[in-house]
């Protein structure tokens, strides 16, 4: 499913108005006397465009999907007030470890990103960075009504209204706030989706990368990072 958008506005948006001083192009004297141009965003970061990673076919993919569903590693990144609902999951009362759900401290090792509640523009930038650093296949659970239509922050100058315009969402959990039981139910729903092979939102994100990037860059004016954070 391809999404339509205004391509002309894009090239103007891709210019960084708020380029940080450490990311500006500078000239450095090399030890042998020559002068080298350093463009930090090109030289220190990988600017390659991500490719779509197709799933395998048949029984193999079904087996792998089963393994992926039974081993969900959650990124420990609380973005809003809903993050207070995540710690109870590891207490005796809810005990998410029974269902193969574990917390990881780094995006490199996690598969599930819980956007817990409202996202301010500043946090959205960090959330995008973390999401893009996660290895594919990756899933997003959007917690609370703030991620659906803005919730009680719908008219705020600094929080986004619809998360699905910036990041692809697999499972929404409605409520303000949903209780940990609802979160566990959300994990159950996500497991079903993965086992059916429907949780391929990471590929959808890459297919519509330009649309997502245009939306993201519309509000994150202080971009200062490569287009895709490997």
């Amino acid at each position: 499913m391809k999404k339509d958008f205004d391509k002309d506005a894009l090239s103007d948006m891709y210019k960084d108005k708020f380029l940080a001083p450490e990311n500006e192009i500078r000239f450095v004297n090399a030890p042998d006397g020559s002068i080298i141009e350093v463009n930090p965003l090109d030289d220190y970061f990988c600017q390659e465009r991500p490719k779509e990673l197709k799933p395998r076919k048949g029984v193999v993919e079904k087996f792998l999907n089963w393994a992926r569903a039974e081993s969900l590693w959650v990124l420990g990144f609380g973005t809003g007030c809903g993050s207070i609902e995540i710690p109870p999951l590891s207490t005796p009362r809810f005990d998410m470890y029974r269902f193969g759900v574990q917390m990881r401290a780094t995006p490199r090792q996690s598969n599930v990103f819980i956007i817990s509640g409202y996202l301010s523009v500043k946090t959205l930038k960090r959330a995008i960075r973390s999401y893009e650093q996660m290895p594919s296949p990756k899933y997003i659970i959007a917690l609370g009504s703030c991620t659906i239509n803005g919730g009680m922050y719908w008219d705020s100058y600094n929080t986004i209204n619809r998360l699905d315009h910036y990041l692809p969402v697999d499972v929404y959990i409605a409520g303000c706030m949903p209780r940990p039981e609802a979160l566990l139910a959300g994990f159950g729903k996500l497991k079903e989706l993965i086992k059916e092979g429907k949780a391929e939102k990471a590929n959808e994100y890459i297919q519509n990368l330009d649309w997502y990037k245009a939306n993201q860059k519309k509000i994150i004016k202080d971009w200062n990072m490569p287009d895709y954070n490997w």
Binding site: K122, K125, N149, G150, D155, Y157, N161, I219
Partner: protein, 175 residues
């Protein structure tokens, strides 16, 4: 508090004295006299603890109100010093030489109200809003609802129920 305010009156031209209770009072002073007054209170009257610095946008009167709330930890009294500055030329002398922590408040006011504090450390760096390029959001001529609708893709079909009206129609349908 009354005694203290009288002592201040002898030394500084203050107006709008507002005695709230035994331990709290507010006074207003002219922009140029505010920092000397704060320094004098800190060094001679034991108001050594800085509590907060906040601003109010009086758009009808075309001015900002800055409130420095300082506290005396020995007799547990608090004094608010109000300063009115012009809205068009929103600028105030920095007080970070008196209390180190004040620079955070000044940086926030610069970002949220557009009140400039020259020479305050890191005052021009972005605080919460990164890359904000319209008028500061806490100014009252900034329409937050309109900005949100233009920027953040509002989901269509949103309806709001005023709780008072809703409960009234539910509990007293005849009225």
């Amino acid at each position: 508090m009354k005694q203290l305010v009288e002592i201040i009156q002898n030394h500084f031209p203050i107006n709008d004295i507002d005695l709230r209770k035994k331990s709290l009072a507010f006074i207003s002073i002219h922009q140029n006299q505010a920092i000397p007054l704060l320094e004098w209170l800190k060094t001679t009257h034991g108001y050594t603890a800085f509590v907060l610095l906040t601003a109010v946008d009086w758009i009808e009167e075309n001015r900002f109100q800055l409130t420095y709330l300082i506290s005396n930890p020995e007799n547990f009294t608090e004094l608010g010093v109000r300063v009115f500055i012009d809205r068009e030329k929103a600028e105030m002398v920095s007080a970070h030489h008196l209390w180190k922590s004040i620079w955070v408040y000044q940086r926030e006011l610069k970002e949220m109200f557009g009140i400039n504090f020259p020479d305050s450390p890191r005052v021009n760096e972005s605080f919460i809003l990164e890359g904000w390029d319209t008028i500061p959001p806490y100014r009252r001529d900034f329409d937050t609802k309109q900005y949100s609708e233009e920027t953040y893709f509002p989901r269509p079909g949103r309806s709001t129920n005023d709780p008072a009206k809703h409960m009234k129609s539910k509990l007293y349908p005849k009225d």
